[in-house]
């Protein structure tokens, strides 16, 4: 059932859920470039821009300077995958399709070291663990992916659908439906 694609997909019925026998894997997952950058970006504690705290004219009473407290600028989404990461992801894809999941795992971890904030890396790694039938770890890796794509609705949907898939594989249909519901919010 490798051809089962994740996107687009509606809420699956429980009956359908049980019939799927392998972890869904979409070799043609949308490249990061297409990821929507929300028009109203989620705030993040990130590179503080001292000027934006504005009150720089306030006299400095003591060493604690209120003007440089971190603020919440926009999420900076780096939508460029380096050729190195592309090469590794492709090679992981090929290994997945041949059922060589351990190789895929090794390769994706190389990619993770190079691009630890690339959602594709976590998505594919979660799929790999799912295929290795380590559903707990698969879900955790997917959750880690979610923690780095906050504010990116398309990505959030993709990851929640993946979690639904993983839970379904592990036989927890109720939890899978919860994840489906989460996905449907985006």
């Amino acid at each position: 059932m490798i051809e089962t694609t994740l996107i687009p997909r509606r809420l699956l019925t429980s009956a359908l859920l049980v019939t799927i026998s392998a972890c869904s894997f979409a070799p043609t997952t949308p490249p990061l470039v297409e990821i929507e950058i929300p028009s109203e970006p989620a705030p993040a504690v990130s590179i503080p821009v001292p000027e934006s705290a504005v009150i720089s004219e306030l006299p400095n009473q003591d060493a604690i300077n209120p003007t440089v407290v971190p603020v919440s600028p926009t999420v900076i989404v780096n939508n460029q995958q380096s050729p190195a990461v592309v090469a590794l992801l492709n090679s992981a894809d090929a290994a997945q399709q041949q059922g060589n999941f351990k190789f895929a795992q090794t390769t994706l971890q190389r990619a993770q070291r190079i691009a630890p904030k690339d959602p594709d890396v976590y998505y594919k790694l979660a799929v790999t663990h799912c295929n290795l039938e380590d559903y707990r770890l698969a879900e955790q890796v997917a959750l880690k992916g979610i923690s780095i794509v906050q504010g990116q609705t398309k990505e959030l949907r993709r990851f929640w659908l993946l979690i639904a898939d993983i839970r379904m594989q592990s036989g927890d249909i109720v939890a899978a439906e919860k994840a489906e519901h989460m996905a449907s919010r985006y």
Partner: protein
């Protein structure tokens, strides 16, 4: 009659004796034969596990400077030459490097040996192309060998095959040690008589006359004692060995067995390891003069030790080269070139094997959970670790520099100042550097793993995390007034702030960033010690804690490694990760035995962790660790916490950027107080390390359930963005102040500057 009977009886006895002796002799020979074959054919050597650093990934856009590449290549023993023609050579010019990699067979694929052109600019590797001009997306250098796990006899060796041994080495050995090697049957009468003549001529013992086969027997089967019995056994054993095995088999065994040096307790055996030990290069890359030196060492590894006795060694080398020339092995021009070359032995300190005892210690402990000791020291396993020699190098420099500058400043009382450090990749949980003490190469007490020292305020994140989990928000007002607590045993606990002042009512986030003790202790008592302990466990600390109030101010001890694990969970948005030193273990042929993949488990929810991460950043921006930004650029967002234990016995800092997490401890082994705090001690080493790394900023995207609101600094109430003194703080939606502040007018002791400011804007 009697005499005849006697004679008969005697001859009968003699025959019996003779037969018995023959039988014993034959049995002995059989036993010897069996012994020889068993050992020669079975597992011949206990081969220590080889431990490798992580391979350096080279790809366009990787954060790597020429200088960092140089550190890596030096660790790999590359020769810096003018023109790169052979594997293991490199040349640097302007912002380019040309290197000829050696290649390495990883379990997941072969990295072939190739010549590459690398372009650098602004701290990054911009482009990699092959000698033919083709762009290469990525490749791995061969990994640096950082250590071995030795058997009890401390024998270390790198096995080689005969086909990998340079011809010149074999010819040199045969020329100098055993010219008749290919002709004799184990012993050489000609050799012995020639040696005797030479000895008589010289008037002293200068030649042994042992064949290579005899030398192998000596090294291989017999003890090192010089006894007659041993000498007598050597000859039949040499003959038997030759009877069973070919010259090539014997030669290969010899090349791997021979003893060629000593480093402390570690005995250097075989030419494969000798090449690394003396020249930091693979055997195949050595030149005739280097091979001549190695062949010459066999006669007396300690007498000719080239690091201690360079003149003797050079004399010996030149003698070997001369014999090689005489025997026609070395041509005139090569001979003249070789004998005028310097010895070229690398400094022991530049060898990376054995340079990281604290890291290796961690590797061994993690390995022992899965492998028995004898498998580690004898099966030739290959252990691939996460050690990053470049990061380790920088961490060592930062720590030792800080220690010596603190000593200089504070004089005598700090003569024994110690420190340790753990560096990880916060995204993956991989341990990339470990320092166990100020003498980084000293294989002794490993403070990074084994010192349990009170962590002081490093514990506070656990208290504040418990608070936000229980419904406090960042603008909640805390009581920072003094208090006494009478313990069940009658003792009185009376914490104090570092400045011995009370700050009355403080906002929760400020109490954390400024590390106030009174408000933290009050808060922690209110939350419940058991709940704080539960949070510590969910942050990844496995140790049991005593539920004493002093725990809230970090009176109980943790090792730097445990602290790293705790802060790792904070850096990775609430996901606990095992700290991994090992990536993979393979057998000697490269077959994978076990792997240690990326593992994680979310134990703290994203929202609460986001609030804590904010406070940890406030600590580095405006709190007790703000001195960081005297050195780091403002764009590099980092988060962390200072720690100073009771009576200032320990100075700690734990913190992280996007791609590096480091924990530093400084203190004295005898537990005396030190004249500096976490901020003025450990933080300096931390900052110095981070400044030298190429950092990614720490970025935590806000979860959906988090909103940022403008808060009045004085009152902790909602404010407008335009209000002077207003600060944006994160809140979990539905749990934030609801009352609006009067924009700073109503409060504050000195409203004038604020008014002034406010009016200025108004009229602009």
């Amino acid at each position: 009659m009697n005499s005849i009977r006697l004679r008969r009886r005697f001859s009968g006895f003699a025959t019996k004796l003779f037969l018995s002796l023959l039988l014993i002799g034959a049995l002995g020979l059989l036993y010897l034969d069996n012994h020889i074959r068993e050992q020669f054919e079975g597992k011949r050597w206990a081969v220590p596990a080889k431990v490798y650093a992580r391979p350096l990934e080279l790809y366009a856009g990787s954060p790597l400077t020429l200088e960092e590449l140089r550190i890596e290549l030096q660790g790999l023993g590359y020769q810096f030459v003018r023109k790169v023609t052979l594997p293991g050579q490199a040349t640097f010019f302007n912002a380019k490097a040309i290197i000829h990699t050696r290649g390495f067979e990883f379990t997941d694929g072969l990295e072939s040996s190739q010549r590459l052109i690398l372009d650098f600019s602004n701290g990054f590797l911009n482009n990699i192309s092959s000698a033919q001009g083709q762009a290469i997306p990525l490749l791995r250098l061969e990994p640096v060998l950082i250590g071995g796990i030795y058997p009890l006899n401390n024998e270390d060796r790198d096995l080689i095959q005969l086909k990998d041994a340079p011809d010149a080495l074999i010819q040199a050995l045969i020329a100098i040690e055993d010219r008749g090697f290919y002709q004799h049957h184990g012993i050489s009468l000609r050799g012995i008589s020639r040696a005797m003549v030479a000895n008589v001529k010289a008037g002293r013992f200068i030649q042994g006359g042992s064949t290579l086969t005899q030398q192998l027997i000596k090294n291989f089967y017999l003890s090192s004692e010089r006894t007659l019995a041993r000498k007598l056994l050597e000859i039949p054993m040499a003959l038997l060995l030759e009877l069973h095995y070919s010259k090539d088999e014997i030669l290969e065994a010899y090349l791997n067995e021979v003893y060629v040096g000593q480093e402390g307790a570690r005995a250097i055996h075989g030419f494969g390891l000798a090449a690394q030990y003396y020249f930091a290069q693979p055997l195949q890359e050595l030149k005739p003069d280097q091979l001549g030196l190695l062949a010459g060492l066999v006669k007396g590894p300690s007498y000719y030790e080239p690091r201690r006795h360079p003149q003797r060694a050079e004399g010996r080398r030149n003698l070997v080269l001369k014999v090689m020339h005489e025997q026609g092995v070395l041509e005139e021009t090569d001979y003249n070139k070789a004998r005028t070359r310097p010895l070229g032995v690398v400094k022991q300190a530049s060898l990376l094997k054995g340079a990281y005892p604290a890291y290796l210690d961690l590797v061994k402990r993690q390995l022992r959970q899965d492998y028995p000791d004898d498998a580690l020291s004898s099966e030739g396993l290959r252990v691939f670790t996460n050690l990053n020699p470049i990061a380790q190098n920088k961490a060592e420099a930062a720590l030792t520099k800080t220690i010596s500058s603190l000593e200089k400043r504070h004089g005598e009382q700090l003569a024994e100042l110690q420190g340790s450090m753990v560096v990880t990749n916060p995204q993956t949980g991989e341990v990339i550097a470990v320092i166990g003490g100020r003498e980084t190469r000293y294989q002794g007490f490993n403070r990074a793993l084994d010192t349990l020292r009170p962590i002081g305020s490093l514990i506070k994140p656990a208290v504040y995390l418990t608070a936000v989990e229980q419904g406090y928000h960042l603008a909640s007002i805390l009581d920072d007034s003094p208090f006494k607590l009478t313990m069940p045993n009658g003792q009185i606990w009376q914490p104090e702030n570092f400045d011995h002042q009370s700050h009355e009512h403080v906002k929760l986030h400020q109490a954390m960033a400024r590390s106030y003790n009174l408000s933290t202790a009050r808060l922690g008592m209110d939350l419940g010690l058991d709940n704080v302990i539960d949070t510590l466990h969910r942050l990844g600390v496995v140790r049991e804690f005593n539920a004493y109030p002093s725990l809230l101010l970090g009176a109980q001890g943790l090792s730097p490694l445990e602290v790293a694990k705790m802060y790792q969970t904070m850096a990775s948005n609430g996901f606990q990760m095992p700290l991994r030193a090992i990536r993979q273990v393979t057998d000697s042929t490269g077959q994978e035995l076990s792997r240690y993949p990326f593992e994680l488990e979310q134990t703290i929810d994203n929202d609460s962790m986001h609030l804590l991460q904010y406070m940890l950043q406030e600590t580095t921006r405006t709190g007790t660790a703000r001195s960081i930004y005297n050195h780091l650029p403002a764009a590099i967002n980092v988060a962390g916490k200072t720690g100073t234990s009771d009576l200032q016995r320990d100075s700690w800092f734990a913190g992280f950027a996007g791609n590096r997490l480091a924990v530093v401890w400084l203190g004295l082994d005898n537990n005396d107080p030190v004249p500096f705090t976490g901020s003025s001690g450990a933080l300096r080493a931390w900052t110095d390390y981070m400044v030298h790394e190429t950092l990614d900023p720490f970025i935590a995207p806000a979860p959906e359930e988090i909103e940022y609101l403008w808060i009045d600094q004085e009152t902790g109430l909602l404010a407008d963005a335009q209000c002077p003194g207003a600060q944006q703080l994160p809140f979990i939606i539905g749990n934030s102040p609801t009352e609006q502040a009067n924009c700073g007018f109503s409060l504050g002791n000195d409203p004038l500057p604020i008014l002034d400011n406010w009016m200025k804007r108004w009229f602009q």
